[in-house]
């Protein structure tokens, strides 16, 4: 006889959400199906705070946290972590410094201790920062011959004006990274690290009450009155004509191609409709319409698809492909043709039904493991979607109309005014 088992998605009945006295929001979801626990979180210390000549500061600070604290030197930190087979990582994106950790559930206390120690008491030891800086610069120099990275950089720089934070790389440049001083790093930490708007999600094999208590013990008394309020991003003007950049990179066999425009942030009312339109354009069924014409019908590329990267700000809505250098112009024409189609014709009933089904149906797979659940909960908290968001998700998606898709595509995409970035061996002319 078949077993009848009930599964539930995380919701207000089984997520514990606690706001500590200092403002840190903690979400815990118990999952005893494996012995592990993951931790994820973020706070407002992203690269939007970097000034252009010091781009990369937020990221260098985040990556230096685990190089030494007031009470643990580099070796002690890493021996403690690696002896437990635990892991803790920090990184900075446009709007946030984020962290993620993993450990066996029995070691969660130590993971929380290490998180709090590295967030609150880093010392940025000069020798370790210099070592990291050297590794960072080696990485940046390596990317100077990575055609995918070069295409993406040129795309970003053409898409956003120089006065917009998104014009600049979160990872800094070969010019900016050497300029970042220890004083800069310590000042950034003092000003931007603190409990304000910090979110921490814990998922795994431990009781929610225990997780909250442990985090309260380590982070509950943290105060930083200097943390600034978030500032608004500069307004972006709509592109009136196409912009194109071609970069020749020696020794390459394939050309990386990127086309697109500024897309919606997650806060925009059109975000979900745009996401659904993007799925039709370049994701659903092996990379959507773009994959169908570029890869399947004409065999021009190994990969071809599109994505929306908007989060707390207006990320790009872009099409990417890796193509044979002799096929670049044909691939661009095909991609622009699909942009014209998605911005001029309502999608079919089948298209919208299929893609709604895809969005709704993929939820269980996104929640397959602790990391997937943690990522979903962090999104829910970041964008204030409500603890029952996953329960109501089906209805939210089903309510989107074909007109809303067309409107969203027309608002953000214009085939006659796209940024086109091409990097490869140069046969594309």
């Amino acid at each position: 006889m078949a077993k009848t088992l009930q599964y539930s998605v995380p919701n207000e009945e089984n997520i514990v959400r606690v706001v500590l006295d200092n403002g840190i929001t903690v979400l815990v979801y118990e999952n005893f199906s494996a012995q592990s626990v993951v931790l994820a979180g973020s706070f407002d210390a992203g690269s939007v705070w970097d000034i252009p000549e010091k781009s990369g500061l937020a990221a260098l600070v985040a990556n230096s946290l685990i190089r030494g604290t007031e009470t643990r030197d580099f070796d002690t930190l890493h021996r403690t972590m690696e002896d437990l087979a635990a892991d803790l990582n920090f990184g900075a994106s446009k709007h946030n410094t984020s962290f993620s950790g993993k450990a066996l559930a029995e070691d969660f206390g130590m993971l929380a201790d290490l998180l709090a120690d590295t967030l609150r008491h880093p010392v940025f030891p000069a020798d370790h920062v210099e070592r990291l800086r050297g590794e960072w610069l080696t990485g940046l120099r390596y990317r100077q011959q990575d055609s995918g990275w070069l295409a993406s950089r040129a795309f970003r720089q053409m898409l956003y004006p120089v006065e917009h934070p998104y014009h600049h790389s979160s990872q800094g440049t070969l010019d900016s990274i050497p300029q970042l001083s220890l004083d800069d790093m310590r000042a950034f930490h003092s000003r931007h690290y603190g409990p304000k708007d910090m979110k921490i999600v814990v998922v795994g094999a431990l009781k929610a009450t225990d997780a909250v208590q442990i985090l309260r013990e380590h982070l509950g008394d943290w105060i930083n009155v200097d943390q600034p309020e978030s500032s608004d991003l500069p307004e972006l003007t709509t592109l009136g004509e196409p912009k194109r950049g071609n970069i020749v990179v020696q020794g390459k066999k394939q050309t990386n191609l990127m086309l697109g425009a500024v897309g919606p942030s997650r806060y925009e009312p059109e975000f979900r409709a745009a996401s659904l339109a993007n799925s039709i354009l370049g994701q659903f069924g092996m990379m959507g319409r773009i994959g169908d014409v570029v890869r399947e019908r004409e065999g021009l590329a190994y990969y071809a698809g599109s994505q929306i990267t908007g989060g707390q700000g207006p990320g790009a809505w872009s099409i990417n492909a890796g193509v044979d250098p002799t096929h670049v112009e044909r691939a661009i024409d095909l991609c622009l043709g699909e942009v014209r189609r998605i911005t001029s014709e309502p999608v079919s009933d089948d298209d919208i039904a299929d893609n709604k089904s895809y969005f709704i149906g993929r939820l269980p797979l996104q929640l397959e493991n602790n990391e997937g659940i943690a990522a979903s909960l962090l999104t829910i908290e970041t964008y204030q979607l409500g603890l029952n968001y996953l329960l109501s998700y089906r209805d939210i998606i089903q309510a989107i109309t074909k007109d809303e898709l067309l409107h969203a595509a027309q608002k953000y995409l214009n085939a006659d005014a796209m940024v086109i970035s091409v990097a490869g061996p140069g046969e594309h002319g």
Binding site: L5, K252, K253, Y302, S357
Partner: protein, 420 residues
Amino acid sequence: MTNITKHTLENGLTVFLKEVHAAPIISWWVVYRVGSRNEPTGKTGVSHWVEHMMFKGTPKYPGGMLDRAIDRIGGRWNAFTSLDYTMYHETLPAEHIDLALESEADRMTNAIFDLAETESERTVIISERQGSENSPMFWLREEMNAVAFRVHGYHHHVLGDLADLQTITRDDLYGHYRQHYVPTNAFVIGVGAFDTPDMLAKVKTIYGAIPIAPAPKHFVRAEPEPQGERRVIVNRPGHTAFLRVSFRTPSATEPDWFKVDMLDSILTGPGGGIDNKTSRLYQALVKTEITAGVSGGLSETIDPYLYSITMTVRDGHTIEEAEAAFNVAIQNVIDNGVTEAELNRAKKQAKASFAYEMESVSNQAYWIAQSAILGEDDWYERYLARIEAVTTQDIQEAAARYLIPERRITGWLVPTGLDG
């Protein structure tokens, strides 16, 4: 095997089922015992290309139909070709598992291999190779494997040589498919939220109908023992130099493999998302600021393969410096062994990695498949017990046996700059 049931159907197909009810999903894998290991010169890349053609459809499920059908239910599917195998997998909401069962059974025998689509896919396959060629390290890895294996099929890349990708025909592909995609050369694996008797009944109905076919004769040529160090230099445009050192190591079913596995963890860290800053080579190379990074890898292979360590030379330093420091660190392990603390850390990290892997039904299915490919159904389940038995003396002996110049392939990626 704990909680895993194994069945063999009358047509020779082997079935592994494991119930996991942590989430309402099922992962379904179909695995063929053929990979780049079995490809003769002139047909390199044929396994991988056949894998691509399997997504081009059957009369029942024409090209693109399954892409859409699986996305429509929120599933994911993919395939990958490796040295030893070709694997196809679907992970789906449990109520839709019939789609995976039926479509995989269908394409085991009914894939079309249309001539025009074969030609269209040729450019896609070459494009995939060109994408890899954009990475300087691809060239070094490919050259080193070619030097490490003169006879055995491990000598060429899974993607195949360009010369073969330009000349392989539709009939070559179809012949490979007909020869190798038969029940006697396949395993199917299901892990997830199902009831085993119900699932087995479905599998018997759907897969039991596939006709019996003779087991293929696999093309394999044994590699002779190396007779000395082999060295490779690759020049590519760029700024960054790399050192890669590979050692000929035993197959994954040999007791020594587990010793080398623990040795790798001590030398370069455990991988799998766990950091490596306490590892020997991080301390010797990165902490001393000679390299910007170090990583190591030991594959689970049917035949003896390679343990490889890759180092990114830091700006302002040379490959010679990196190689000298590397050799000192390796000689130190051979001469002085490792500590109990290092070995205990490596074992604990292996146990944790095992626990992390178990969170996902897809990963569990993969490891059952990998074990079956190795010919030891309980390989992964016994993994922790086998590494637990490794001693510090074992590690030192393994280092002295395998990390020696006679078994070494040393590769330099020498950048030529970007300006001329």
